[in-house]
C-alpha cells in the first residue's frame, strides 16, 4: 500500500514538474501571465507531493517492510529507530529521492517568496523545474526506491519475495552524526541550484539592475553554509568512525564536496566586485554555473563507479545519465552566455594593482587553482589509464604536496585583501595597515623556529595565522574605537554595535578568523605521533605524554551486534587521566565488522586509540594509538566559520544616527568628488 502510494506520489510530482517546466517556458516565450501562474502553482505542489513519497519510504523502513528491495537492502528489524530513519538516504535510490525532495523544498520556498523579483522569479522557477525533472525521471523510472523484491521460481516465473529480515545498514553509517551529515551536505549541494537558477534567469532575461546578484549571493551563502557544515560533519565522522587517525584523506567523495565549496567561496568574494564596482560579471556568472556543474559532477563521481572510494555508491547504471545532464546544462549555459554576453560588460576597469579588486582577483585565482588541483588529482587515474593504459593512484601525498602551498598563499590573501582599499591603496596606507601584522607574524614564526619547530609548512601556517589574526583584530579595533569616540560606549558595546551595523562585513571577518583557527588545527597534523603494539592484559603502550595500559578484555552482545571491548587505563605522567574502551564489532544482519574508535580530546592534542586487531598466532590484541595535536581547533574553527556565515546572513541593524550622518557625509563627499567639486 505504502509503496504504491509512494510510487504514485513520485509520478504525480513528475507530472507536475513537467507541467511547471513546459508551461513555464511557454508562458515566458508567449508572455502569458495566467499560464505562468499555473506553472508556478504546479511547481509549488511538487514539495508536498514528494513529502508524501518520503513519508511512505520512511513508513516502509519503520514498519520493516522487507518486501521492498531498498528497505531489505538497507535495514533490519533490530536496527535502532534513529538509524532506520537515516537509512532512507544510505543507498542510491533513497538518496536520490531525498535529493529531489530537498530540491522541491528549495523550489517551494523560491516560488512562494521573491515576489519582488519580477520576471526573474518565474524563470528561476522554470530552471529549477528543469533540474528537478531530471532527478524525478531517475526517481520514477531508473532507480525507484519503491521496487518490490522478487525471486525467480524454478518454473521461471517471477514472484514477490519477503525475506525474514533485512541485510542491515552499513555499520559505518550507524553513528549519530551520520543522521545529520548527509542532509546538511545535500542541503548544500542542492542549494547551489537556486543561485544557478537565478543567475541563468538573469542572463536569459538580461535582468536590469543588481537585484539578481543580491539574491544569488544570499542563496549562495546559504548553500555554502550548509555545505561547510556537511563537510565538517563528514570530516568529524571520518575521524571518529573510520579509524585511520585523520579527518581528511582526499578521498574522491570528499573531493567532490570540496570542489563546489571552493568555487562557491570564490563567488562569494568576487560578487562583491560586481556589487560595488560593476566588475567581473562574466566571471561571476560562470562561477555560479561552475559551482552548480561541480555539484552535479560530484554526484556523478560518487554514483557512477568511475573512481573508487570507500564511501562511494557501488557502480550503477546512472552514470551516463549524469554525464548527459551535465553536458546539457553546460550547453544551455554556453548558449545563453554567447547570446547575452553584451549584458555582462563591466562598468569599470581596475585602476591599480594595489587595490581590493586586485586582491579579489588573486583570491579567486588561488581558489580556482585549488579546485583545479583537486579535480585534476581526482580524475588523473582515469586520464592516465586512458592515455598510458596503466593505472596509477593519486592519494593523500599528491594532494598534500600540491595543495598545501596553494592554501598557504590563500591564507596570506585572507589577511591582505581586507586591508586594501577599493580602487587604489597608497603605500602609506599599506605601511600603516601591515606593519603590526607583519611583525607579529614574523615574531611568531621566529619564536616557533627557536623553540624547535622545523616543519616549513607548519611554520608558515602558524606565522600566517598570526598575521591574519592581527589584521582581523585591527579591523575590529579601529571600527570599535570610532564608535567609542562618538558614543562613549564600552568596548564590548562598541564591538557589538560595529558587528551588527555591518553584519556582512564583520561576519565575513569572523569567517576568516574561523578559517585561521581551522588552519592552525590542520597545521598540528605535522606533529602527529603514532604507535602500534601487541598488548596482552596488563601491558602498557607509551606514546608522547601518555601511558595506555590494557586492564580488561571483554566480549558481549547487543540485539544489533557482537562486540569485543578493551578497557584501557590512560595515565599522563603520574596521574590517571581517563578510561578508553575501543571495540571491535560484528553486525549480525549485515555480517560486517566495525572498529569503534575512542578519543580523549584536549585543547592541546587528542589521544586517539583503536583496536586494530588480534595476532592470529598468539590471540593478543593489537592497539594502534595516535597523538593528534590541535585537532579540536579544526572543529572550533569550523564552528566559528558557521557562526560568521550566520551573522553575515543576518540583515543587520540600521546604523545609529550619529554614525549614519558620518557615513552619509562620506557618501556626500563621494558625490562631490563625482561632480568634480
Amino acid at each position: 500500500m505504502m509503496d504504491s502510494l509512494g510510487s504514485f506520489a513520485v509520478l504525480l510530482a513528475l507530472t507536475a514538474c513537467a507541467y511547471a517546466f513546459l508551461a513555464g517556458i511557454l508562458a515566458h516565450v508567449k508572455k502569458q501571465a495566467i499560464l505562468g501562474a499555473t506553472a508556478r502553482r504546479a511547481g509549488v505542489t511538487i514539495f508536498p507531493t514528494l513529502s508524501v513519497a518520503m513519508a511512505c519510504l520512511w513508513g516502509l523502513f519503520l514498519t520493516d517492510d522487507f518486501s521492498i528491495a531498498y528497505v531489505a537492502n538497507h535495514s533490519n528489524r533490530d536496527l535502532p529507530v534513529l538509524y532506520k530513519f537515516a537509512a532512507l538516504w544510505s543507498g542510491q535510490e533513497g538518496s536520490l529521492l531525498f535529493w529531489s525532495w530537498i530540491l522541491s523544498g528549495y523550489m517551494f520556498f523560491v516560488l512562494l517568496r521573491h515576489r519582488e523579483e519580477g520576471e526573474l522569479r518565474p524563470l528561476a522557477g522554470v530552471i529549477l523545474a528543469g533540474v528537478q525533472l531530471f532527478f524525478l525521471i531517475l526517481n520514477a523510472f531508473i532507480v525507484s526506491p519503491f521496487r518490490v523484491l522478487a525471486e525467480v521460481a524454478p518454473d521461471g516465473a517471477t514472484r514477490p519475495f519477503v525475506p525474514a529480515d533485512g541485510r542491515g545498514l552499513n555499520p559505518l553509517l550507524q553513528y549519530p552524526e551520520m543522521v545529520l551529515h548527509p542532509p546538511t551536505l545535500y542541503l548544500g549541494y542542492v542549494g547551489f541550484s537556486v543561485p544557478f537558477a537565478f543567475a541563468l534567469a538573469a542572463l536569459i532575461t538580461r535582468s536590469p539592475g543588481e537585484r539578481w546578484i543580491h539574491v544569488t549571493r544570499r542563496w549562495t551563502m546559504i548553500a555554502w553554509g550548509f555545505l561547510t557544515l556537511g563537510i565538517l560533519m563528514g570530516a568529524h565522522w571520518a575521524y571518529a568512525v573510520l579509524g585511520w587517525g585523520g579527518y581528511w584523506a582526499w578521498d574522491p567523495v570528499e573531493n567532490a564536496s570540496f570542489m563546489p565549496w571552493l568555487t562557491g567561496t570564490a563567488f562569494l568574494h568576487s560578487v562583491m566586485m560586481q556589487e560595488r564596482r560593476g566588475m567581473l560579471k562574466v566571471w561571476n556568472v560562470w562561477l555560479v554555473f561552475i559551482t552548480f556543474l561541480l555539484c552535479i559532477f560530484g554526484t556523478f563521481l560518487t554514483r557512477s563507479g568511475v573512481v573508487s572510494s570507500v564511501h562511494a555508491f557501488a557502480q550503477s547504471p546512472i552514470g551516463h545519465w549524469f554525464v548527459g545532464f551535465l553536458m546539457l546544462v553546460f550547453a544551455v549555459c554556453l548558449f545563453f552566455f554567447a547570446r547575452r554576453r553584451d549584458y555582462l560588460r563591466s562598468e569599470h576597469r581596475l585602476e591599480a594593482v594595489l587595490s581590493r579588486e586586485a586582491s579579489f582577483l588573486f583570491n579567486n585565482l588561488v581558489l580556482l587553482a585549488a579546485c583545479f588541483a583537486v579535480l585534476w588529482g581526482t580524475l588523473f587515474p582515469v586520464i592516465s589509464e586512458a592515455v598510458t593504459g596503466s593505472k596509477v593512484s593519486v592519494g593523500p601525498p599528491f594532494f598534500n604536496r600540491v595543495n598545501i602551498p596553494i592554501f598557504l598563499f590563500l591564507l596570506l590573501l585572507t589577511g591582505v585583501g581586507p586591508l586594501l582599499a577599493w580602487r587604489r591603496t597608497s603605500w602609506e596606507s599599506l605601511k600603516r595597515n601591515f606593519t603590526y601584522p607583519t611583525l607579529v607574524g614574523g615574531a611568531t614564526g621566529g619564536i616557533l623556529f627557536a623553540s624547535g619547530v622545523r616543519d616549513l609548512y607548519a611554520l608558515m601556517a602558524f606565522a600566517l595565522s598570526a598575521f591574519v589574526t592581527v589584521t582581523i583584530v585591527s579591523e575590529f579595533y579601529r571600527g570599535a574605537r570610532v564608535i567609542r569616540t562618538q558614543t562613549g560606549r564600552t568596548w564590548v558595546q562598541a564591538l557589538l554595535e560595529l558587528t551588527l551595523r555591518n553584519t556582512r562585513r564583520y561576519g565575513g571577518y569572523i569567517v576568516h578568523f574561523g578559517i585561521v583557527v581551522l588552519f592552525i588545527g590542520v597545521a598540528g597534523s605535522a606533529f602527529e605521533k603514532e604507535r602500534e603494539m601487541e598488548m596482552p592484559v596488563g601491558a602498557t603502550l607509551e606514546l608522547g605524554r601518555y601511558a595506555v595500559t590494557l586492564k580488561e578484555r571483554k566480549q558481549g552482545e547487543t540485539p544489533n551486534y557482537i562486540y569485543e571491548r578493551l578497557t584501557l587505563e590512560v595515565r599522563r605522567g603520574d596521574k590517571p587521566l581517563t578510561t578508553l574502551e575501543p571495540e571491535r564489532r560484528l553486525y549480525k544482519a549485515s555480517e560486517q565488522p566495525l572498529t569503534k574508535v575512542t578519543i580523549h580530546s584536549g585543547w592541546r592534542e587528542d589521544l586517539y586509540v583503536y583496536f586494530a586487531g588480534v595476532n592470529p598466532e598468539t590471540g593478543v590484541p593489537i592497539i594502534h594509538a595516535y597523538v593528534n595535536p590541535l585537532v579540536r581547533w579544526v572543529w572550533i574553527g569550523g564552528g566559528i566559520v558557521l557562526l560568521g556565515t550566520l551573522l553575515a546572513l543576518h540583515p543587520g541593524r540600521r546604523p545609529v544616527k550619529v554614525a549614519v550622518s558620518e557615513r552619509v557625509s562620506a557618501r556626500a563627499k563621494e558625490v562631490a568628488y563625482a561632480k568634480g567639486d
Binding site: V353, F372, S393, V394, P397, F398, T595
Partner: protein
C-alpha cells in the same frame, strides 16, 4: 695429521663464532627496528588497493584482503634490498604502479605534478598582464567615460544609496 686438521677447523670455527655471535647479538634487535621503521616510512608512500584509498600502513579494515599481504611483501622487499627505491620497485613489480600513493614523476605521469602548478602560474601571469593593461589604460586615459566618477551609473548608484540611507533615518 688428522688431529692437526681437526684442531685447525676447531680454531677457525671458534674464531668465526667469536666474530659472528656478538655481531648477531648486536644486530638482531636494531635490524628488526630498522626494518619496521623502513616499512612504516615506505608504507606511507604506498596505497591500499582494497578500494579504501587509504595509505597502505594506515588501512584499518579488518581482514583486509590487500593491506596485510602487501605489508608482508613490503617487509620482505625491505629485508632484501638496502635501497628504498629498490624496495618500492619490488612493490611496483608485484602490484603495478597503482600501488604508489602518488603518481611517479616520470613520463606522462609527470603531467600530474606539473599541470596544477602550470595552470596556477598561467593564471597568475594572465592576471598580471590584465592588471598591467588595465592600470596603464587607466593612467593613460583617466577621462574615459567608463572610469570617470561622473559615470552616470556610478552617480545613480551613489544617489540611490544616499536616498536609501536617508530614507532609513526618516
Amino acid at each position: 695429521m688428522r688431529r692437526a686438521i681437526d684442531g685447525r677447523w676447531r680454531a677457525l670455527l671458534f674464531l668465526g663464532a667469536l666474530m659472528v655471535v656478538p655481531s648477531l647479538g648486536r644486530a638482531q634487535e636494531p635490524e628488526s627496528a630498522v626494518v619496521e621503521e623502513r616499512v612504516a616510512r615506505l608504507g606511507k608512500k604506498l596505497l591500499c588497493l582494497c578500494g579504501c584509498n587509504q595509505i597502505l600502513v594506515e588501512c584499518n579494515h579488518r581482514n583486509c584482503p590487500f593491506s596485510g599481504p602487501a605489508i608482508a611483501t613490503l617487509r620482505q622487499a625491505v629485508r632484501r634490498y638496502e635501497s628504498d627505491d629498490l624496495a618500492i620497485q619490488a612493490m611496483i613489480q608485484q602490484y603495478g604502479t597503482a600501488v604508489l600513493a602518488a603518481p611517479p614523476a616520470q613520463g606522462f605521469n609527470l603531467a600530474a605534478w606539473i599541470t596544477p602548478f602550470a595552470a596556477t602560474a598561467g593564471g597568475l601571469a594572465l592576471i598580471a598582464v590584465l592588471l598591467r593593461r588595465w592600470s596603464r589604460r587607466w593612467a593613460a586615459a583617466p577621462a574615459t567615460e567608463a572610469t570617470l566618477p561622473e559615470d552616470p551609473a556610478w552617480r545613480e548608484r551613489v544617489r540611490r544609496e544616499i536616498e536609501k540611507e536617508l530614507g532609513g533615518l526618516s
